[in-house]
Amino acid sequence: MSRRVRGATGKKIDRTAIDALLDGLLKSMDYMGEHKQVILDRMGSVMIQYLVETGAVPSPRGPSDFARSLRLLLIRNGYGSMAQTQIRTQPGVFSPQNLVEILAPTDRRLGGRTSPTSSPSKGRGKVDWVLYETVLYGMTKALDDQLGAQAQLILDRIGTLMLDYLLEVGAIERSDDPNVLLQNVIDYFVKAGYAKSFRFGLEGIPPDTFVSRYESARYYTTVFRRIQKEGSALLSCPLCLIGHSVWGTQGWRFGNIFEVRIRSGGNVLSKVRIYPSTERFTESDALRLSRMKL
């Protein structure tokens, strides 16, 4: 099985992609109580740190330059009104969680309504890739710091919620056929500017490995590489997370990436172990192990 899509890639990505990501993130943590705020605060701090380290904004050591530069970045990307309000409320000081708040779709801010259909900030146009990358890195790092590898469960849920959002706003066409739906998802991400092309296939008899090939997939050269270097096992590639969700409806579970080759320019080959829905620790396994002498 192999499908291939080609499209344009650049330094920008469709705004629906960042809206869907933040909508999914915030919804996925709605039930987490106080823990939600701890994660969002950490995410905000990491995002600021990432923007400074990548040179998108200067260091907060010079507060006025920092605030001005951050505001300009946000205004350039269509977050002007929120940026003005948030930064003005605390002159010279920027509260880290504000950045998540500023970038979130309007109806997800301050506990607003959850339907994306009425969102004034709903994604027309493009945003700088650096903002999308910052959200992806901040989210992954904060989840890893607070929860470790088990946060993959939250990331997978974010994938499902992102898909719901993108279907609801009409960015991805619905289909009852999972293969068609997956193709629609790939088409969307390629056109949105996430990667220049994406192909996938299965290996093994019976299939036990999911092989992905990307061209110009910036996520892998920046966020993924950095997260891996930091020892995290989390995978937050949005296309993968939605893919997990669609394949999940067919009973498949995704394990960790056991092989990945990332070339300059973002050409990526990754192999992920996949598991069918069958029981993987049977009664006979349990019996055998309980009889094991120590």
Partner: protein, 149 residues
Amino acid sequence: MDAVKYFSERFGMGLYITLNKPSAVLQEMFERSGLAHGNLVYLDSITNTTEHRTESCQFLGRMRELTDLCIALAKMISEAKFQFVFVDSVSTLLIYNDPKSVARFCHTVTEKLRSLNLPAALVLVEMEEGKDVAAQLAQFCDAYVKAAN
């Protein structure tokens, strides 16, 4: 962290099964919080490395099969005198295993530890995905403790 400190202070040397954070990260965290070095030995199935053994850790490689985990645990318990076992965390197993298998695995492990009179703690983060498993685990554990954030 407090739970590990409690177990360590009360029982002595423990086996920490880490599926969630690399043992190197945990070691550093525990040492910073004052947990005596050498009070924990790790069974690590999250660090991205090949299977090998060091003085304080048995590395299994990332996300191994439940049977591999069970065998490695049994082997370590038979080789050293541990006073408790800490499993961190059951939630991680739910990423790539069905809930029924995870519950059966936990049951097998706890029964084994019970037969050896080894106290143990199974950690599970309260998430939508683990609700059913949490309810099942509560049935064969002596206590279900809900920790505040």
